[in-house]
């Protein structure tokens, strides 16, 4: 099998599978009240999922924990948010800090 037909098979497989994962809950459970447990999950899981996204996008490099300049950027972002900076300011400060740290280190 050449690279192109392999690519097509993988494309179809991942596209169908990922769509099923995305649409499962909205299509199966949507349009009516959620069962109590799922309703509570929907209320409480977002904080955990968002926090996990912060952690993995800061620390993960595949399955490795990579301690690099990104951490400095995220710390500055936290300080900026604590000082009530807006979204774009926060992101720009994080990017600039990380770039500066990489230039220096």
């Amino acid at each position: 099998m050449n690279a192109s037909s392999k690519g097509t098979i993988v494309l179809i497989g991942v596209a169908v599978g990922c769509y099923a994962l995305k649409a499962a809950a909205p299509l199966v459970l949507g349009g009516r009240p959620l069962p109590r447990l799922l309703d509570e999950l929907a209320r409480f899981a977002p904080a955990a999922l968002l926090a996990a996204l912060v952690v993995t996008s800061t620390l993960a490099d595949g399955r490795r924990i990579a301690l690099d300049a990104r951490i400095g950027g995220v710390i500055v972002a936290a300080l900026a948010l604590w000082r009530r900076a807006g979204f774009i300011t926060t992101v720009i400060l994080a990017v600039a800090t990380t770039a500066a740290l990489r230039a220096v280190l």
């Binding site: 991942v14 649409a23 999922l49």
Partner: protein
């Protein structure tokens, strides 16, 4: 607002529509959505390049970005192909990374009302960033607005950048790192979770979720730490049930400790 109930339950947004706060929230949402999309462009560019590396055409590259449309799974699947892996293992690693989408679905379901075909279309936009922008909204009735803005703006710029990367086929990894663009992603997520951290209950859940995710990074394939972090919600559920007490006795569910 005297006639706000005339429209019935089909128009839950109408009573807010003219308030200033509501408009400000929507403006902020649009700004966040667009800036996250811009920050993601170099990554889509890099994805286009990695497709070219794996011997795939530009059509494949943009096919992934249009039809799979979840960055992590795209990179994982194409990465396996590039390393000479079998199609089945490329598909498996793409789907493993996508398991967290199940949890996003549960969280978003209450915010995606409407007929089945609308829910089917909305579902395709389900990615880290659309969910995060949606949930980052201060007003629960704006969650879908943020989700759609986040999803659609990323969709457009992600696909355009993928094409550019696949056609140009140069190294973007250096560029992303040198300019610190990779830090834009965690900073965005942090800004979106921040308002929740002001509430003690939510802060505890976020902390437990963060610890679970950090612990699992070296132990589980990418994507799983995020999915597992969702389990931290049970801490909140247990605490809330303890505070509220059981619901009506006839409908009492098993005690939290059995969950």
């Amino acid at each position: 607002m005297s006639t706000s109930t005339v429209g019935g339950p089909a128009l839950p947004l109408a009573p807010h529509a003219r308030t200033e706060e509501y408009e400000t929230d929507r403006r902020a949402i649009r700004r966040r959505a667009v800036s996250i999309s811009v920050a993601l462009m170099p990554f889509a560019f890099a994805f286009g390049i990695s497709c070219a590396d794996a011997g795939l055409s530009a059509w494949h590259a943009v096919g992934f970005s249009l039809l799979v449309f979840t960055g992590g799974s795209q990179f994982a699947a194409v990465g396996v192909l590039r390393d000479g892996g079998a199609p089945a293992s490329a598909i498996a690693s793409g789907l493993l990374l996508g398991l967290r989408l199940l949890a996003y679905g549960v969280v978003m379901t209450p915010h995606l009302p409407g007929p089945r075909w609308k829910r089917a279309l909305d579902s395709h936009l389900m990615i880290d960033e659309s969910v995060a922008v949606g949930l980052g909204s201060g007003d629960p009735s704006n969650v879908r607005y943020g989700y759609r803005w986040g999803g659609l703006s990323v969709f457009v710029l992600w696909n355009l950048s993928t094409v550019a990367g696949a056609v140009v086929g140069n190294s973007a990894g250096d560029l992303i790192e040198r300019f610190g663009i990779d830090a834009a992603i965690p900073a965005s997520f942090l800004a979106l979770v921040w308002p929740r951290l002001l509430d003690e209950q939510q802060r505890i859940i976020a902390l437990v979720g963060a610890v679970i995710a950090a612990t699992l990074i070296p132990l589980a394939p990418p994507g799983i730490p995020i999915l597992a972090a969702g389990l931290a919600a049970f801490v909140g559920i247990a605490r809330a049930r303890r505070q509220d007490g059981p619901p009506a006795a006839s409908a009492a569910p098993p005690a939290p400790s059995e969950r």
